[in-house]
Amino acid sequence: MLLIPCPFCGPRAQIEFAYGGQSDIVRPKTPDAASDQEWAEYLFFRDNPKGSHRERWCHRDGCGLWFNLLRDTVTHRIARSSPVDEPRGGNA
C-alpha cells in the first residue's frame, strides 16, 4: 500500500485516494477548432512513461482536494507532491 503525501493533510494510505492519471492534460480552449486527431490526442493519448510520472490524485476520503504527484512508475518512489493549481516548475 502506497503512502501518499497529500500536500494538505500529510502522508496517508493509498486507500484514501482516487487516481486521476497524467497531470496537466490541457483541454483545448476552442474545441471546435481542434482536428479529430488533436481531440483524440487530448482525450486518449498519454505519456505513460516507465519512470518519472507527473500525475493527479484526489484525497477523496480526506480533504477532497486534487493535487499533483511526481512518482516513479517502476519504484513508486514519490519525489514531490504539490497543489493542482501550483504552476509547473523545478523538477516537477
Partner: protein, 417 residues
C-alpha cells in the same frame, strides 16, 4: 526439422535416459539484418513469427526479447481462454483465437493443455441478468456458443459457490460459454517458440531493444544491447511496454500501463470444474490441472511498470474469493505476483499500422492478452506480410480514436461507467 513429440517418442526416450532430446529452440547468434523483426518474445510475438513463417513463408525473422521468452504477461496470466465478448468485431477476433487454440496442440505438436471446461459469468441482480441476456444473444447472433443459465443451473455447475439470497451479491443466474476454459500459458509460448524456431526464425533472448531506428518516417531497424539490426519491417508485441517503445519512435499511444495481480492457492484435489467470473465483484477463478485455485480481480489503479502490486487489491480480490466461495476460507494463498497490462480506453486491442511506416503494433489487450494470442499473431503476421490489415483486425486500427469508432467492451457492459 524438429523431433516429433508423442507418447511413442517418450517411450523411446525412456530407454536412453531421455538424452536424445534436442533443444526446443536454438540460441542463435543475431544477424545484422532481417526481413522482419518482432520485438518481444511473449505469446503474441512468438505467434506472429510462427504465422509469418507458416502462413506467409516469411522466415527471415528475428524475435528479440529483453528477458526470457514467455517471461512477461504470457507467463503471468491466469490462463483463461474465452471469446464471450459483446461486439461483433470483438467476438470475431477472440473467436478466431479460440478456434486456433482448439487446434493448436496438434498444429504445434505441443500439448498446450487446452481445457474447454466452460466459463460461467455470474449475474447478481435482475438488471445484470438482463445485461447478460443481451450479451449471450450478441454471441449467438455472431455464431458463438453461449447459454443463459438460471440459479439452479449455476449451482449445478459450481456447487461450491454461495448463491443464497442473503449473500451480499446473491447469484440469480449467469451465462455459460462451454468452449471457454483454460490453457497452460507457458506451453503456448514454448510451443510457438519451438514452432517458429523450426521454420528458421531466430529467437534472441536477453537482448533489450533500446531504440527504434526511423528514417524519413520509415522504420529501418532497431538498436539492441548487441548492436544495430536492420529490418524492412518491425512489429512491437511488448504489451505493457508499448508506450516506451512508441516514444522511441516518436509517437504516443492511447495506452496506460497498470499492474494486474494474480493469485494461486495451495494445490487441492479437484473441486472447481469451470471457470467462474463475476463482473460485479471483478473476481474470477479456475482450478489448474495441478490443483491450485488460480484467481484474479481488479487492477492496481495507477500507472505502474513494477511487476508487483499492492495490498489493497490483494485484500479486495481475496475477500471476494472467500465471500463467494466460503470453502476457500481455510485454504492458503501460496503465491501471488503481478504483470504489466496495457489498457486502452475502450478495452480493445490496437493491431496493425503505426504512424511510422513499416512499424506495426499489436498491443492494448489489457487484461485479456493471453486468450487472444493466436489471433493477435495470426492477424499481425498478415498485416506485416501484406502491409494491409487482416479484415478481422481492421476495426482495431489506431485511427479509431480519432474517428470515435471505439469498440467499447468495458463501457458497453453498462457497469463500469
Amino acid at each position: 526439422m524438429k523431433q516429433r513429440f508423442s507418447f511413442g517418442a517418450l517411450v523411446r526416450g525412456a530407454a536412453g535416459g531421455h538424452r536424445h532430446w534436442q533443444p526446443q529452440w536454438r540460441t542463435p547468434a543475431m544477424k545484422r539484418r532481417y526481413q522482419v523483426i518482432v520485438v518481444g518474445a511473449g505469446g503474441h510475438g512468438l505467434a506472429t513469427a510462427y504465422y509469418l513463417a507458416k502462413n506467409h513463408g516469411i522466415t527471415d525473422v528475428a524475435v528479440i526479447e529483453k528477458g526470457w521468452l514467455g517471461g512477461g504477461n504470457t507467463g503471468r496470466n491466469t490462463m483463461v481462454v474465452r471469446s464471450n465478448y459483446l461486439f461483433p468485431e470483438s467476438t470475431a477476433i477472440y473467436d478466431l483465437a479460440l478456434r486456433l487454440y482448439e487446434d493448436l496442440s496438434r498444429d504445434l505438436n505441443y500439448n498446450i493443455m487446452l481445457s474447454q471446461r466452460g466459463i460461467v459469468t455470474l449475474a447478481h441482480s435482475r438488471a445484470e441478468l438482463d445485461g447478460m441476456a443481451r450479451w449471450a444473444t450478441a454471441l449467438q447472433v455472431n455464431g458463438i456458443d453461449s447459454e443463459i443459465v438460471d440459479r439452479d443451473g449455476v449451482r449445478r455447475l459450481v456447487p461450491t459457490l454461495k448463491v443464497a439470497d442473503d449473500a451480499r451479491y446473491p447469484v440469480v443466474g449467469g451465462f455459460l460459454q462451454r468452449r471457454g476454459g483454460i490453457a497452460r500459458h507457458d506451453a503456448v509460448a514454448w510451443g510457438y517458440a519451438r514452432g517458429a524456431d523450426s521454420y528458421g526464425v531466430d529467437i534472441i533472448q536477453n537482448c533489450e531493444v533500446r531504440d527504434l531506428i526511423v528514417r524519413a518516417g520509415r522504420i529501418a531497424g532497431v538498436e539492441t544491447a548487441q548492436g544495430v539490426v536492420e529490418a524492412d519491417s518491425v512489429a512491437l508485441t511488448v504489451a505493457g511496454h508499448s508506450s516506451v517503445l512508441a516514444a522511441k519512435a516518436g509517437f504516443r499511444l492511447p495506452v496506460t500501463s497498470y499492474a494486474l495481480q494474480a493469485f494461486v492457492s495451495e494445490p487441492i484435489k479437484p473441486i472447481l470444474n469451470t471457470v467462474v467470473l463475476s463482473p460485479v465483484t471483478g473476481f474470477y477463478v479456475s482450478q489448474s490441472d495441478k490443483g491450485e485455485l488460480v484467481m484474479g480481480g481488479a487492477l492496481d489503479l495507477y500507472n505502474s511498470y513494477a511487476q508487483r502490486g499492492n495490498f489493497p487489491a490483494i485484500e479486495g480480490v481475496l475477500s471476494s474469493a472467500v465471500e463467494m466461495f466460503p470453502f476457500m476460507s481455510r485454504l492458503k494463498l501460496m503465491r501471488h505476483w503481478g504483470g504489466i497490462v496495457d489498457v486502452v480506453p475502450d478495452s480493445s486491442p490496437i493491431i496493425g499500422k503505426s504512424p511510422v511506416q513499416g512499424l506495426y503494433l499489436n498491443c492494448g489487450w489489457g487484461t485479456g492478452g493471453f486468450k487472444a494470442i493466436p489471433a493477435g499473431g495470426f492477424t499481425l503476421a498478415h498485416s506485416i506480410a501484406h502491409d494491409t490489415p487482416h479484415p478481422i483486425a481492421a476495426p482495431f486500427a489506431l485511427d479509431r480514436f480519432a474517428t470515435g469508432a471505439l469498440i467499447d467492451e468495458a463501457g458497453a457492459s453498462g457497469i463500469a461507467h
